[in-house]
């Protein structure tokens, strides 16, 4: 079996590309980090990959709003190429800033463009309720089988590190619809009461509605999440590994292995 090829897209300010490539490599994929200018010159580069990953960081400084400028670039120049990528049955993963970019480019909701969503975007990721960037570990519950990247995963313990990660929908109805469609695939939980569907700070680090930490598109093959699975591959990345609380392999690796297995 040949290794699935992963295109890890980097732009000015992307800063989690190296460890994300490492996570894919550890999982058995063949990642390549590619600068946005290369795909703007030749969108065919996407065709050579099975997986597209938008890693974390501060694309263009998160100036204007987190992920906004790269999302705008994608919308204006790469929307067709990405729609093709998706309709070819491939996988798209956006982590943290990548999630912000995907949602603002309309790749997760809204049919791919502002024109397709005349009433305006359905959802966004905005400022944390604390008004601050925060780095902390969170408990997550995965639900449903919509996203192949989350197959077989019930829960994960991963770090978040962001200022603009609060998931907000334009109306309560949108939130209900997404829930019913099984697209609200990851939520923050309180380990003391894992069934609580609407936990507060600090378990829900940003005040996301319904504690949403990640969503997928209608096909399930496009996934965006705020936590960083690539930061928990090795046991010594766990904040309490010296207390014997970490398993041999980090929780995040399973997602990357799922991506590889999908093409196996």
């Amino acid at each position: 079996m040949s290794k699935p090829r992963v295109l890890i897209l980097r732009a000015p300010g992307t800063n989690c590309d190296v460890e994300t490539a490492f996570a894919f490599e550890t999982a058995g994929a063949a990642p390549q980090v590619v600068h946005i200018n290369r795909v703007l010159e030749d969108a065919q580069l996407f065709a050579e990959s099975q997986i597209l990953c938008l890693p974390g960081g501060f694309s263009y400084g998160d100036d204007v709003a987190a992920g906004r400028i790269l999302a705008n670039q994608i919308h204006h120049h790469l929307a067709d190429a990405l729609q093709q990528f998706r309709s070819d049955g491939k996988l798209i993963l956006g982590i943290c800033n990548g999630f912000q970019i995907l949602i603002k480019a309309g790749m997760l909701l809204d049919g791919g463009s502002p024109e397709a969503a005349p009433l305006g975007p359905q959802a966004t990721l905005t400022w944390n309720d604390t008004g601050l960037f925060e780095d902390r570990w969170v408990h997550l519950a995965a639900s449903g089988d919509k996203s192949p990247l989350l197959r077989g995963i019930d829960s994960m313990y991963l770090p978040v590190a962001h200022a603009e990660g609060k998931f907000v929908t334009s109306t309560p109805e949108v939130l209900d619809q997404l829930g019913e469609a099984g697209q609200l695939v990851l939520r923050y939980t309180d380990p003391a009461s894992p069934e609580d569907r609407d936990v507060g700070y600090p378990h829900n680090p940003n005040g996301s509605h319904r504690a949403v930490a990640g969503i997928c598109d209608a096909t399930g093959r496009v996934l965006g999440l705020m936590p960083h699975p690539e930061r928990f591959i090795d046991r010594t990345q766990h904040p309490r590994w010296t207390r014997g609380e970490a398993a041999d392999v980090g929780d995040g690796l399973a997602m990357f292995k799922n991506a590889v297995a999908y093409f196996g």
């Binding site: 300010g13 200018n37 400084g61 100036d63 204007v64 905005t126 008004g131 010594t236 010296t242 207390r243």
Partner: protein, 982 residues
């Protein structure tokens, strides 16, 4: 046409900016300030309403959570108050101040195929009716900082965005040949040269001999190169010292030709000589950062810088460019190191200082702290470099002059560790454009701060643009590996002037100033030359390398421009459109500065005893007071704002323990994801000890930095340290004497512990002067503040240890002798007691202890390890217990101590150095003890002093089993977390 787009939170969404400001207004004494906050953009260009509407809705605002008001500047709808009786106040960056968001927006608008000419951001506030006085206060102290921002109350009244006016070239000379001494001194001050009279005289003589006056650019070049900031002339100069010269305090005299060389550097030389073939230093005190060996493929580098004066005036921008600047040091070391982690240490006045007691020109310490923390956060996080270690110290003497230390560790291949400019190489500027920002930073940082500094030196204050630097970092690392340049250095203090001057020192250089890309028109040739605009690197590139380098940079939209050539002339020649504007021999520039000879004296404080009250029955109030003191208290509010895990190398995080919130001793990172080898980073600093004796302060700081590193598992035989001296006015012989004494301690400790200094930096003149209401001049000097930063190495990160207690039933060993050393301790500070013996380092014991602790950790005998520092045994045991969500019972009578100790306060709170509290499983206790058998010092070095319990109480008992301390750990933790839980 000039459009304004105002953006507000949509109804039902929180107004986070207004909430934060209302909280800060409270600190200013303005109760319940009701305001609304918006952000906006001014967009100039030939675009119509539908186009601006598209940009507003699809780019600038987030329609899910925000609403917009779009109109031409001045239109009535922009000024419809959200509630009756509210007035609008606009805050805009001053012309020329970096506005990264506007730059990004300008580029993003181009993606819409809409052409605009200029963009500027603004903040818009709706305030209730206030008196003119209150409005002024709110504008200046809350909404804007006059150093970089302008405030416009009411509607904006301009119709175009200001751009620079064209510059008309005119060569400027400065007539100095006929000036008398007083006039020379005046010129030095009014021209912001901040040179000493002897230096001005040397320059005067040089040009008298040439038979002409210097041009302005020549004089500026000399001032930059000879500035304290760039040349460290005080500490690297001649000093006649009188004071203690031996560790035991024996008084004598020392004559230094070059004080730093004969103390700090000399220690490293001695260690390297002793190590011989096993020498693991690679390049020390030569490059922009010190370099040491890491593994078979790579070296690691470390540099710590200060950015104190800019941070005093504009805390956000000062700290922002402080971290941005120090990141460029490793990047400018060898052929360029990849940054792997950052450190930050700050000193502020207490955040609860009453606002009405502040002298004019001083920002409130709380505002300074918030600004500094956000400045480091926004730059470090954007660069993708984890900020993993730091400290914050509070003392009223940092009021007008806070300290901001920023450090960066980097990794670089062994074969890329050295570079040198070659004759006929091009001088290439890479990265940000040159602007009028940051003029006179180098000379300004070498001057004393006064209440006028704000208006005088505003140009020295800058805002960084981290993404420009990240783009530079990305291409430089590729260019390095492809061999596309021969040398690299950063453009820091002094700008091109310093960078080109340093690189071409041994060759000569010709610079074509008009070629440097500028942010806007209107810069004079001199401004281009000395601007300290951020995010620029200077490369030495051969003509054969140039094409590939240029193409690589262009492929990632990084600007790279040839601005001159290293011409083998031995001279620095500056040209503007082919006209020579300056010409100086490299020799005069670098070696022409007259030697500065200074007197230094240190009279040790007369030994004063610290009077202790009669032994009491209980000490938990004292313990709670120390835990709740600002220096000891949890810094979680700060730490969480830094991404401390990006790059995924995090092994020991700054916060550790059962609830991820205990105070770790040192951070450990794995710089290579494919390797188990780690780097431990820690620091040590004890300004209070310095008030009593700077020798023991320096010694204690080194011991503290090392024991923090050792406590997590670093090998004490391979710890490199850095010195950062922040001192007051060293023209004052007593002040300089206290620094020399600290440097002598650095020599003694480094040599004995075999821990080399590899880099350092000093910042002198940290004093703030102001005039009181009575017209009296007051000066506040900072306490002598030496930061020691340590970089250790861990063979395999899987051996690392944290400080949180792990398991009930385990044994607690106290390693190290407790002495009667309460001088400068946190017990003394919190109880308002003065005098006492300052902690000393018993070097031979320290060295043996570090080795034994390391052996124990390597042998997997240690479950938890914490060093004893501020607050001594009581605080260390409390921290270990609450971090581990466990209890502990300790027996004070078993604590190993010297003969002078008898009082329980000394046993509980003494801050004697080289001590650790270790948790060991009962079945490994014998193995652990055996490792320390040979280090006895008038008695055993360690004792089993108690055990870990499941009680969630910290109990410290007397020999009669009476509890001196018996408190729930939750209560201890709450006291520790409360002060800075913002």
């Amino acid at each position: 046409m000039l459009w304004e787009v105002d953006i507000y939170p949509a109804s039902g969404q929180p107004d986070l900016a207004a909430e934060a400001l209302a909280a800060e207004a409270h600190d200013l004494g303005l109760e319940s300030l009701q305001l609304k906050a918006g952000r906006g953009y001014l967009i100039e260009g030939k675009l119509d309403r539908s186009q601006i509407q598209t940009i507003a809705e699809q780019l600038l605002a987030d329609r899910v959570v925000e609403t917009t008001v779009v109109a031409e500047v001045g239109a009535a709808e922009l000024h419809a108050p959200p509630q009756n009786n509210m007035q609008a106040v606009h805050v805009l960056p001053k012309p020329g101040v970096m506005d990264p968001v506007a730059e990004s927006a300008l580029r993003a608008i181009a993606d819409f195929d809409i052409e605009v000419e200029a963009v500027r951001t603004l903040k818009k506030y709706w305030l209730p009716e206030l008196s003119a006085e209150q409005l002024d206060l709110v504008s200046k102290k809350l909404l804007a900082n006059d150093a970089i921002e302008q405030v416009i109350a009411g509607p904006l009244d301009f119709d175009r965005l200001q751009v620079g006016d064209a510059y008309t070239f005119e060569l400027q000379h400065v007539a100095i040949r006929n000036l008398d001494d007083m006039q020379l001194a005046d010129l030095s001050r009014s021209g912001q040269l901040y040179l000493q009279l002897a230096e001005m005289q040397t320059i005067q003589n040089y040009f008298r001999e040439l038979g002409r006056d210097p041009t302005d650019i020549e004089l500026e070049t000399l001032a930059q190169t000879w500035s304290e900031h760039c040349s460290h002339k005080t500490l690297a100069g001649r000093i006649a010292y009188e004071g203690p010269v031996e560790p035991d305090g024996t008084v004598g005299t020392r004559q230094f030709e070059n004080m730093l060389k004969e103390t700090i550097f000399a220690a490293t030389l001695a260690i390297r000589k002793k190590l011989g073939a096993a020498d693991w230093c690679v390049s020390v005190f030569e490059d922009n950062a010190g370099i040491v060996r890491f593994d078979e493929q790579d070296n690691i580098v470390f540099k710590v810088e200060t950015h104190n004066h800019p941070s005093a005036l504009e805390p956000y921008g000062g700290a922002n460019t402080g971290i941005g600047g120090v990141i460029r040091d490793p990047l400018g070391t060898g052929l360029g190191a990849r940054p792997v982690c950052n450190t930050d240490v700050f000193c502020f006045a207490p955040p609860d200082t009453p606002a009405d007691t502040l002298p004019a020109g001083v920002l409130h310490p709380r505002r300074v702290m918030k600004g500094v923390v956000s400045g480091v956060r926004d730059y470090g996080n954007r660069m993708g470099i984890p900020t993993v270690n730091g400290a914050i110290y509070f003392d009223p003497r940092y009021l007008g002059n806070p300290l901001v230390y920023c450090g960066t560790v980097g990794i670089l291949p062994r074969d890329k560790s050295f570079g040198a400019a070659q004759a006929d190489d091009y001088i290439v500027a890479v990265g940000g454009r040159t602007g009028r920002d940051g003029i006179h930073g180098a000379t300004f940082s070498s001057a004393e701060l006064t209440e006028q500094s704000e208006s005088l030196s505003g140009g020295a204050v800058q805002i960084g643009n981290a993404i420009t630097e990240k783009m530079v970092l990305d291409v430089i690392l590729v260019a390095r590996d492809r061999g596309l340049y021969n040398a690299i250095t950063d453009c820091g203090a002094g700008g091109f002037s310093s960078a080109v001057g340093e690189m071409g020192e041994k060759i000569g250089a010709e610079v074509w100033l008009e070629r440097a890309p500028v942010k806007y028109e209107g810069l004079s040739y001199t401004e281009i030359w000395i601007s300290e605009a951020q995010e620029r690197m200077v490369l030495s590139v051969s003509p054969e390398q140039w094409e590939a380098l240029s193409a690589l940079c262009a492929s990632e939209d990084v600007e790279a421009t040839i601005i001159g050539r290293f011409v083998p002339s031995g001279e620095l020649t500056l040209k503007y459109h082919n006209e020579q504007v300056g010409r100086l021999p490299m020799e005069f520039l670098h070696d022409g500065r007259p030697p500065v000879i200074r007197q230094a004296r240190y009279a040790p404080q007369p030994a004063e005893t610290l009077d202790l009250p009669a032994p009491a029955d209980a000490y938990h109030e004292e313990l709670l007071a120390i835990l709740g003191s600002l220096n000891v208290a949890s810094k979680e509010w700060v730490i969480r704002q830094y991404d401390h895990e990006v790059q995924a190398g995090s092994v020991i995080k700054p916060l550790v323990g059962a609830a991820n919130d205990g105070p770790g001793d040192a951070a450990v990172v794995r710089p290579k994801l494919t390797s188990r080898r780690g780097i431990a980073v820690s620091c040590g600093m004890n300004p209070y000890y310095g008030d009593l004796n700077t020798y023991h302060m320096a010694a204690s700081s080194i011991d503290e930095a090392m024991r923090n590193c050792v406590a997590v598992g670093a090998d004490p035989r391979q710890i490199a340290i850095l010195d950062n001296f922040c001192w007051g006015d060293c023209e004052n012989p007593e002040t300089l004497g206290s620094l020399v004494l600290a440097a002598l301690a650095c020599y003694d400790l480094a040599v004995e512990l075999e821990t080399p200094f590899i880099s350092g930096k000093d910042s002198l003149n940290n004093e703030f002067s102001y005039v009181t209401a009575d017209g009296e001049k007051q000066t506040i000097a900072i306490p002598a503040t030496l930061l020691i930063s340590a970089m250790g190495q861990v063979e395999s990160v899987d051996q690392c240890v944290t400080m949180d207690l792990k398991k009930a039933g385990n044994v607690l060993y106290l390693v190290g002798i407790t002495r009667d050393e309460l001088g400068g301790s946190h017990y003394a500070v919190t109880q308002g007691r003065t005098g006492g013996r300052v902690p000393q380092v018993h070097v031979a014991t320290a060295k043996a202890t570090f080795l034994a602790i390391h052996d124990a950790i390597k042998a997997n005998l240690v479950q938890a390890c914490h060093d004893l520092s501020e607050g001594g045994l009581a605080v260390a045991s409390a921290e270990m217990a609450f971090a581990g969500s466990l209890g502990a019972t300790l027996h004070l009578a078993r604590v190993p101590h010297d003969d002078l100790v008898s009082h329980p306060v000394s046993l509980l709170f003494s801050e004697s150095n080289s001590r650790f509290l270790c948790e060991v499983a009962p079945d490994r206790a014998a193995d652990f003890e055996a490792l320390f058998e040979t280090i006895a010092e008038n008695g055993p070095l360690l004792a089993n002093i108690g055990e870990v319990t499941a009680t969630n109480r910290l109990q410290i008992l007397t020999s009669e089993n009476n509890p001196l301390i018996d408190v729930e750990t939750e209560r201890l933790k709450a006291a520790w977390q409360k002060p800075l839980a913002w």
